[in-house]
């Protein structure tokens, strides 16, 4: 029963979130984003205390429900293991494996240290929600869109216009490659070993695993009914049930309830811890006590109390701090060089083509609501939900524009479109608070960048013909057409009222260097409000011809 409930809830959450990532035609209501908003890492770094407390409480009461019902990467692994069994003659039997405690905690330590020292990239790479997000955007969505285009072809042939064609975008090798690697590693592990990823690498799994040891409700084996058949262990995808000893490693149990349903004797029970003691025999009591001692020693090792095993761990921790120091040095060098690289490369390409003045944005443009650069870079986990949702295809994963700490984080580019004046979608869906939610009015005044107009490149100046494409696309008239020669008009920039939407840069017809571009800000500014035209009461009573 509990298992079926778990599967049902997990499938709903998984399907909704996955489809929310794929849904380019906006079929799902925006409320579907709630599944992204209750993900652990984004909620934690956005300091959404309510959600974090709720998730912690959930874990402290029921165990790792987050891992089995909410986390898309977790459910994805369950789907893969399930599929794997369809391809096998005989269903895979999981075996109890020893916990890889040191590895788990080392990964978590690395994530925390790097994050606190300003390199959020490791967290971005390992946060299960963001990993899944990138898989969805870079691997699943293109397939979904291709299928749409296939249907469009078919339906349009029969004069039915339900479907429309879409451009399938490739957002660069870095994001695609990382998504593909994540997919392969996680899928192979899930195919062969169940939830290994969650219990050896995943930092969220480690944190919640630690908490779930203390949870109120736990699965437990009733030793009066247990005949040690091992079915529970065979079905445990977390490989945390030692059926011979009748013990369960709660730090790895993801509360999937497979064991409970597989037991023919109804010997696996989900009970509050005080009832476990009451129903259990002396034997179990010893087991739970010994379990507790084990757990305690584990926590003690952190406090470095002298025992045999502890010394080993301590040596390793010392070693690790050493490696960290050199790693940090290495990373800072890498970071520095990567900051300078684009500039060095830009210098190489600075060859004039014709008489056109080359243009280059020197400060990358952050999405609306990003605020200042440091804040944005530390909060964004690169889940790419905004990239997927952006209707103008403006938000694209960066490479080294923000430096190493911002690899894959979204930036605004205007080669495919421009930022819609009234659109606030990215700021609404962002689950980590990297993009602050903006109202339409706030967005209208958020200056993401400022317009730079280069008259030498402008069509009107060069060819003396009408153009005005930039001004046409400017929602605030920060590029205003003013009288030039004869009846010609030429753009005049007013950067104060520019919001940096990039309409002008997108549409400017001059190639290869445009006559207008938007320069980014390290800290987004408030644009000056434009002055409304004076409202005249015009009464027309004649045609005028």
């Amino acid at each position: 029963m509990l298992r079926k409930l778990r599967i049902a809830l997990a499938l709903v959450a998984f399907a909704v979130l996955t489809f929310f990532f794929l849904d380019f035609s906006r079929l799902l209501p925006e409320s579907a984003q709630v599944i992204a908003k209750i993900q652990f890492v984004p909620a934690l770094i956005s300091l959404s205390l309510g959600i974090v407390l709720l998730l912690l409480l959930l874990t402290l009461v029921f165990g790792r429900i987050y891992c089995s019902v909410i986390c898309p990467l977790g459910i994805y692994q369950d789907v893969i293991s399930r599929l794997a069994n369809l391809f096998r003659k005989k269903k895979l039997r999981y075996k109890f494996r020893k916990a890889r405690t040191i590895l788990r905690w080392s990964v978590l330590t690395l994530v925390i240290i790097t994050y606190l020292s300003g390199l959020g990239l490791v967290l971005d790479l390992l946060d299960p929600y963001s990993m899944y997000g990138r898989m969805a955007v870079h691997l699943f969505k293109p397939v979904y869109m291709a299928a749409n285009n296939g249907l469009e072809l078919l339906f349009t042939a029969f004069n039915n216009y339900t479907f429309y064609k879409v451009d399938i975008h490739f957002w660069g090798w870095a994001s695609f490659g990382l998504a593909l690697i994540s997919l392969l590693v996680v899928s192979v592990l899930a195919w062969r070993f169940g939830r290994t990823w969650c219990n050896t690498i995943c930092p969220v799994g480690t944190v919640l695993g630690f908490l779930s040891k203390l949870s109120v409700f736990k699965l437990s084996i009733d030793h009066e009914t247990c005949n040690q058949c091992g079915l529970c262990s065979f079905n445990c995808k977390a490989t945390c049930i030692d059926s011979k000893k009748g013990s369960i490693d709660y730090s790895r149990c993801v509360a999937c309830f497979n064991c409970m349903e597989s037991c023919n004797k109804k010997g696996v029970k989900y009970l509050p811890f005080w009832k476990v003691k009451k129903t259990g025999t002396d034997k179990t009591q010893v087991k739970t006590v010994s379990g507790k001692i084990q757990a305690k020693t584990k926590t003690k090792t952190k406090k470095r109390i002298e025992t045999n095993t502890d010394t080993k761990i301590e040596v390793k921790t010392i070693n690790k701090t050493k490696t960290d120091a050199s790693k940090r040095e290495f990373l800072s060098v890498l970071m520095m060089s990567s900051l300078l690289m684009p500039k060095a490369l830009a210098a190489r390409f600075r060859q004039q083509i014709g008489s056109l003045r080359p243009l280059k944005r020197t400060v990358p443009m952050m999405p609306p609501g990003a605020g200042d650069r440091a804040r944005f870079n530390s909060l964004c986990t690169s889940c790419h939900l905004c990239v997927s949702k952006c209707p103008g295809d403006v938000l694209q994963p960066s490479l080294l524009e923000y430096g190493v700490e911002g690899i894959m984080q979204p930036q605004m580019l205007f080669d495919k479109g421009f930022c819609n004046y009234d659109c606030t979608l990215c700021t609404e869906v962002c689950p980590s608070g990297a993009l602050k939610t903006l109202t339409k009015e706030e967005k209208h005044r958020t200056q993401m960048g400022r317009v730079v107009f280069v008259i030498e490149n402008c069509i009107v100046y060069r060819n003396e013909t009408h153009c005005g494409a930039c001004s046409e696309h400017c929602p605030t008239q920060a590029l205003r057409m003013v009288p030039y020669k004869g009846h010609l008009t030429i753009p005049e920039p007013h950067p104060d009222i520019c919001i940096g939407c990039g309409g002008c840069e997108f549409i400017c017809p001059v190639r290869p260097y445009k006559a207008v571009f938007v320069e980014g800000h390290e800290i987004q500014q408030v644009a000056k409000a434009f002055e409304d035209e004076e409202k005249q009461d015009i009464v027309l009573d004649d045609f005028g011809f």
Partner: protein
């Protein structure tokens, strides 16, 4: 009179008007229209968009003068911007749905509506109110955001624009109606019927590169002419066009101009706009360039114009 004859006559009038007074052209009009002198342009003022159109089309002898039973009709409004109707960035949806209803009443087998928008097309279609209005009236609303919807067409009469990719909805239709809104435009002075052609074209950047005003005139030499140009001037964007910044750019002017003569109807609309805000003819340079290409006359005295106040 069938469509082909009809179009031939318009082509002839285009040439003929340059040399002859309009009255003598009445001889060219087939019997059924001969009872009264044929109307070249109808201007209506003071009504709601749908009401004004009903009146105007009646002056032309009804929609069945243009749409025959079983024909495929295409309607090309201006849906360029993500704007609500009150902001006058796009053609009035009430006018569009009225035209669609009249087409079906005249026996059209299919009515399609599309535009190549500037803003995100989904938002434009939605927020302009045109998608909903057109679907409710029974039309098919087609997208125009992908190059594959457009087909290469030669424009031998064009001066600098010798070819363009035109939306297949226009090319595959039997009849099409050009339904712009009258707006101020930073680049071309005004955007009316001729400028509305840019929404049937894929590569608009080329227009700006080669010379906007000449390219606008050139693309209007497309063989397949609209049966009517229906200029929505119910609300007019007088400043900061073509998208406008706020409602203070909009004037409620309640007018409609209808004519098969593209240069003439745009000239009339320009004169109308000139009452709201100064707009000399030579600023809207593509009118004069269109006349040079033989697309019609800017001399409204040569036309039989019906002026109606509701």
């Amino acid at each position: 009179m069938n469509r082909r004859n009809f179009l031939k006559i318009f082509a002839l009038t285009g040439v003929g008007l340059a040399v002859k007074p309009a009255k003598s052209l009445a001889a060219l009009v087939p019997e059924e229209n001969k009872t009264e002198q044929a109307v070249d342009l109808v201007a209506v003022m003071g009504g709601e968009p749908d009401q004004m159109f009903r009146r105007a089309i009646a002056e032309f002898g009804g929609m069945n003068q243009f749409v025959k039973s079983g024909q495929k009709v295409c309607i090309k409004p201006n849906i360029g911007w993500d704007r609500v109707p009150e902001r006058a960035g796009n053609t009035n949806p009430l006018l569009i749905s009225e035209i669609i209803r009249q087409c079906f009443a005249a026996g059209a087998s299919e009515v399609t509506v599309f535009d190549h928008t500037c803003d995100d097309w989904v938002k434009c279609y939605q927020n302009s109110g045109i998608e909903a209005a057109a679907k409710e009236a029974g039309a098919k609303v087609l997208p125009g955001h992908q190059e594959s919807y457009y087909r290469q067409v030669e424009l031998p009469k064009g001066k600098i624009l010798k070819d363009a990719k035109i939306h297949q909805a226009i090319l595959d239709s039997d009849v099409w109606f050009n339904v712009p809104i009258l707006k101020n435009h930073g680049g071309s002075g005004l955007t009316i019927s001729m400028k509305n052609y840019m929404g049937i074209v894929w590569d608009r950047r080329a227009f700006h590169m080669k010379g906007l005003q000449q390219c606008i005139a050139d693309v209007c030499t497309l063989d397949k002419k609209p049966a009517l140009n229906i200029v929505d001037a119910y609300r007019v964007l007088q400043t900061n066009g073509p998208q406008g910044r706020s409602e203070s750019d909009v004037v409620l002017s309640k007018a409609l101009f209808v004519s098969p003569e593209i240069v003439s109807v745009d000239t009339a609309a320009t004169s109308f706009f000139n009452q709201i805000r100064s707009m000399p003819m030579d600023v809207v340079k593509h009118l004069e360039l269109g006349e040079e290409l033989g697309l019609g006359t800017t001399d409204l005295n040569k036309l039989n114009i019906k002026r109606i106040r509701l």
